[in-house]
């Protein structure tokens, strides 16, 4: 299946007075994709979503939806619908009136519209809630009403502005899976704005990480996690350790690095997003990409000696902070607590196994 471009942003800039909120965004979002805009607060992700929705004008650049320029097209004429952070449920209407709000100008008969409302409510798991007052709903239920109200209009794009941030942890996890399921079911393009990297990884087909009004990296979740293009992206997505290193040979297909206390590694070009330049740099490695060797376990890769300086027990996992010889900052290693595997204590010596394939070089 060749991806069908649905939304095209070209050199989009947005100023609020002197404040430069969007600094030249080029982005193509495909038909049927679950796309996330991920970044810390103030990075411009919500502004970008609102320019697609038509609530903000662009200062320069082009927003195209389905091949048509959206210049001068107000929000009520765009093929997009939005789920607001506050849900924006109309408090003076019932649940059914909220869901059917956008059907007012629909030429269908009242019976057909009522049927559509019932179906939309069933789709989000609120069958039978139609006659309730919108005010009497819980946060999770409001969220579902907002979803039904937007999806009933069968938009080309559904825009979600931090829709799960107001929910408690359990409800949030449940809604993450449900949103993903719903998106597959209806096949509509979803664009999600979130500051929660885990949420973005769980739900998205592709993620754009934004910092200061620019897209820092655009990739699928696995690439984003395994091969972040910069230290900043790596720090924002999950946990990453940074080890000092010396690049001894930078050019060509094999980049040679020396890791004090660990040893020597040969990296492929895709592990060095900024290229390999001889000199000092740092190498990123995820906590689960290293492991402590217990008795009877075989190494997969190289082995280094370390000392355990901190133990954090999570039940299913144990996080160790270990210190390698000649490396000042402690390194976090996560270990699954499988049957028969002991939990080490502070001060214990540990043999750490690591693999050059899991490293990312930042210069």
């Amino acid at each position: 299946m060749t991806p069908n471009p649905l939304i095209d942003l070209r050199a989009v800039q947005k100023y609020y007075g002197d404040y430069h909120a969007l600094r030249g965004i080029d982005l193509t979002i495909h038909q049927g994709e679950f796309f996330s805009l991920l970044g810390p607060s103030g990075c411009g992700k919500t502004t970008l979503l609102r320019t697609i929705a038509g609530f903000e004008d662009v200062s320069s650049g082009v927003v195209m939806i389905d091949g048509k320029s959206m210049e001068g097209v107000p929000a009520n004429h765009r093929p997009t619908n939005m789920v607001f952070q506050s849900y924006a449920i109309f408090p003076h209407l019932t649940v059914a009136q909220n869901v059917g709000f956008g059907l007012r100008k629909d030429p269908r008969s009242k019976a057909d519209k009522d049927k559509a409302v019932v179906e939309a409510l069933a789709m989000v798991g609120l069958a039978g809630y139609g006659d309730r007052a919108a005010n009497a709903l819980s946060g999770g239920q409001r969220q579902r009403v907002a979803l039904a109200r937007a999806l009933i209009l069968e938009p080309k794009v559904l825009l979600l502005d931090e829709p799960l941030s107001a929910l408690d942890k359990k409800m949030r996890e449940q809604m993450q899976h449900e949103l993903r399921r719903l998106q597959r079911q209806v096949g509509i393009t979803f664009i999600l704005v979130t500051h929660d990297q885990e949420e973005a990884l769980i739900m998205s087909d592709r993620i754009a990480v934004m910092f200061e009004g620019e897209i820092a990296q655009l990739a699928d979740p696995q690439t984003l996690y395994r091969r972040p293009v910069s230290r900043r992206v790596a720090e924002f997505i999950g946990v990453m350790n940074f080890l000092p290193c010396e690049v001894t040979q930078g050019a060509g297909d094999a980049i040679e690095v020396n890791l004090p206390g660990l040893g020597h590694a040969t990296l492929q070009p895709d592990q060095c997003p900024s290229g390999g330049v001889p000199g000092t740099g740092s190498v990123g490695v995820r906590p689960e990409a290293m492991s402590i060797l217990f008795e009877g376990e075989a190494a997969s890769g190289q082995i280094a000696q370390a000392e355990v300086v901190e133990v954090i027990y999570y039940g299913d996992m144990t996080y160790y902070e270990v210190r390698f010889d000649a490396v000042e900052a402690p390194v976090t290693i996560s270990m699954k607590n499988i049957v028969g595997r002991p939990v080490l204590e502070r001060g214990d010596k540990a043999r750490v196994s690591w693999d050059a394939r899991s490293l990312v070089l930042f210069c």
Binding site: F55, P74, N76, A88, F90, P91, H92, G102, N135, L153
Partner: protein, 270 residues
């Protein structure tokens, strides 16, 4: 407990001082004597009957009602514009402009009355009901804005955006979403401004000319003709009941508005 005793006594005296005269009003309105003094003579409804037969009084009531209704409608309509602008838009000089509109709240009525009188005479506009309505709109507008501001600012901005998003124009979004949600505030504003205008004396007495409104008529009766005092008290009794009713309705709508938008009650006038 000991600590609160002083304050409690003070509160009781304060309330007596505030409301005793109002309690005396119906007491003497039903008293069978032209002299306002204890002991009470006997029960009568004569004064209310007399009220019924005073045609000049009816004229004054009618004029007051016309002025009050017109004032309430204008002040509330203007208040809606101001409150909407104040809560939705950012513009240069917003603070000073809104502050300026609220100024009559602290300006003595007599100053408003005198300056309006001078200006109206100067531009050749005669005195009368139109002049009184103008004056009343000026003093009622701050109250209307204060009430409507709280109604508009308790609205979530994204409610309006959601309506646009679902296909409504700015006008229909206002009609379908904003208006129903601020309607309790609008009704509350109408009632308050109506009440203020209805019993306003100073501005009316300066600007109505020969067309006496109810408060002006009453004052003239009281000062010129002391035999009429029990009739005036009977009228006062009717007015007090009417005012309490209006304020009650206004408060009911204000609270309903807060409950509707899901806000917290921060205390009203009742």
């Amino acid at each position: 407990m000991r600590k609160g005793r002083g304050l409690r006594t003070y509160t009781i005296f304060y309330l007596i001082f505030l409301y005793a005269p109002i309690v005396l009003l119906p007491l003497f309105a039903f008293n069978d004597s032209k002299i306002i003094a204890f002991p009470l003579k006997g029960f009568t409804t004569d004064w209310f009957v007399a009220l019924w037969h005073k045609t000049e009084l009816h004229q004054a009531v009618l004029k007051s009602l016309i002025i009050a209704v017109t004032t309430a409608v204008f002040a509330t309509a203007l208040g809606v514009f101001a409150a909407r602008a104040g809560t939705k838009y950012r513009f240069r000089g917003k603070g000073p402009v809104l502050g300026f509109i609220m100024l009559p709240l602290v300006l003595p009525d007599i100053i408003v009355a005198v300056s309006l009188l001078v200006v109206l005479l100067r531009i050749g506009m005669g005195l009368g009901m139109t002049a009184a309505i103008l004056g009343h709109v000026v003093i009622c507008l701050p109250f209307a804005i204060a009430i409507l501001n709280s109604a508009f600012s308790s609205l979530d901005q994204s409610l309006e955006e959601a309506a646009y998003d679902l296909g409504e124009t700015p006008f229909s979004a206002f009609r379908l979403v904003i208006l129903p949600l601020v309607m309790p505030g609008i009704i509350s504003s109408l009632l308050i401004t109506f009440t203020i205008s209805l019993d306003e004396y100073i501005i009316a007495s300066f600007l109505v000319g020969t067309e006496e409104t109810l408060p002006v008529y009453l004052f003239n009766q009281m000062t010129k003709n002391s035999r009429e005092i029990p009739v005036v008290l009977a009228l006062g009794t009717v007015l007090v009941l009417f005012s309490i009713l209006l304020l009650g309705i206004a408060e009911y709508f204000r609270r309903r508005g807060i409950a509707r938008t899901g806000g917290k009650d921060t205390g009203g006038f009742l």
